[in-house]
């Protein structure tokens, strides 16, 4: 793996390799628990905890673990941390634990976590692994917050429980129902692709402008494009 800076290790997961939006991993929790912001926060914090803790441990013990039982060991480690997170949530915030339902235990099989162990923590030093896990976890958190935000605002007219639009707002209940999960993520991806398409078009125009050395004309064209 190419040497990167710590900042890059951390930043990777936030956007460029965002686990949900770019890598399409961990879709189940992303869709299932994001009908309110509070649930999104709890879920992503639990995931973040499991991810960072597992990365730390996996990276620390990577030399001790024979290759053949690598995966089994990782799963064992992850399952342990997930159970801890599950029990802690149940003890501390029982209402949210109830709302998340089976999805906390299901963090065990979240593709992001095992994926990072395989792809990163098992090959890199502890510090970098933790940074990577933090980045990925925060990237996951941001996505869940975005999803939860959109769904709660439209679906309930509130954010974190606070009414935003007053009592006359007619909530779009679909947004907190299952179809709303699919549609919201689809819509986010569409917006992202549209934005990228525009950025690419703008870049092409700039390049063209530089090459033709006709700044004025190209600027006019760029304006027309955007």
């Amino acid at each position: 793996m190419k040497k990167t800076t710590p900042a890059a290790d951390f930043a990777r997961g936030l956007w460029r390799e965002n686990p949900v939006l770019i890598q399409m991993l961990g879709l189940c929790p992303t869709l299932a628990v994001t009908n309110t912001v509070a649930n999104s926060i709890a879920m992503s914090l639990a995931t973040l905890f499991v991810l960072v803790a597992s990365s730390f441990l996996v990276s620390s013990v990577k030399r001790l673990v024979p290759n053949q039982v690598r995966i089994s060991t990782y799963v064992l480690i992850i399952a342990t941390f997930v159970t801890i997170a599950d029990l802690s949530l149940e003890a501390l915030v029982p209402t949210i634990h109830k709302a998340l339902g089976a999805f906390v235990p299901l963090i065990v099989v979240n593709c992001i976590i095992l994926g990072r162990q395989e792809a990163f923590a098992s090959r890199n030093p502890v510090g970098r692994s933790v940074l990577d896990a933090l980045g990925m976890g925060i990237g996951f958190t941001l996505t869940l917050l975005l999803m939860g935000g959109i769904r709660e605002v439209l679906g309930n007219g509130s954010l974190l429980g606070f009414r935003l639009f007053g009592p006359r707002y007619e909530p779009w209940i679909i947004m907190i129902l299952p179809p709303g999960g699919f549609l919201t993520l689809g819509f986010i991806l569409l917006t992202y692709a549209w934005w990228r398409g525009r950025a690419a078009a703008a870049a092409r125009t700039r390049e063209l402008a530089a090459r033709t050395r006709a700044p004025a004309a190209a600027a006019a064209r760029a304006k027309a494009v955007s």
Partner: protein, 192 residues
């Protein structure tokens, strides 16, 4: 009987694992571009789900009664090992079947539909038969969603889908529409 039927129907269409509970989305997104693949994946899923339901019931009844905190670990370990054993058996006994279904087994082992089934079954306190109906319904529902999605995706390959929607975004919108359509089954058999 009618309770078992309702459990099966509920897991299959009313609370479809994929379209309303969001379980097993990764195979749903990843393996739903061809109907033939989707069918095989679905069949493999039904098989593993039933196996899971049985093992979870055994574990819950005989092993885990006093150590609920080991539930997750033991589910994972037992399911993974069972699937592995089955996989090896199939490979030995019927190489054809292995080619058709076997290659999907390791992919399924650790997906959340499987673990989710075990967890739901536990938290709802299903007995053996109830668990079996639940697993069968979940598997059939998963297959239904997978195959519908695959056939629609094959169709959209021939469409002039705008560039920004190609790929996952379109699949999600289709899934949302399917999920919307499946809402028609809500309340089935419970209105009487």
């Amino acid at each position: 009987m009618s309770e078992l039927f309702w459990i099966l129907l509920s897991a299959m269409v009313i609370n479809n694992f994929t379209l309303t509970l969001f379980l097993g989305l990764c195979p749903f997104m990843g393996v739903s571009s061809r109907v033939a693949t989707g069918l095989r994946m679905g069949a493999a899923n039904i098989f593993v789900l039933v196996l899971t339901s049985i093992s979870a019931w055994v574990l819950n009844t005989y092993v885990l009664a006093d150590a609920p905190y080991l539930r997750l670990i033991s589910f994972i370990v037992v399911i993974a090992s069972l699937v592995q054993i089955v996989e090896m058996t199939i490979k030995k006994v019927s190489p054809t079947l292995f080619r058709e279904l076997g290659i999907y087994l390791p992919l399924i082992t650790t997906n959340c539909a499987i673990l989710g089934l075990a967890i739901f079954q536990t938290s709802r306190g299903y007995g053996f038969l109830q668990g079996f109906a639940f697993a069968l319904g979940a598997g059939l529902g998963l297959t239904l969603a997978l195959v519908l999605m695959a056939s629609i995706r094959e169709q959209t390959e021939l469409a002039d889908v705008p560039a920004i929607a190609r790929g996952t975004a379109l699949v999600l919108i289709i899934a949302g529409s399917l999920s919307l359509a499946f809402m028609g089954f809500a309340g089935l058999l419970s209105a009487g």
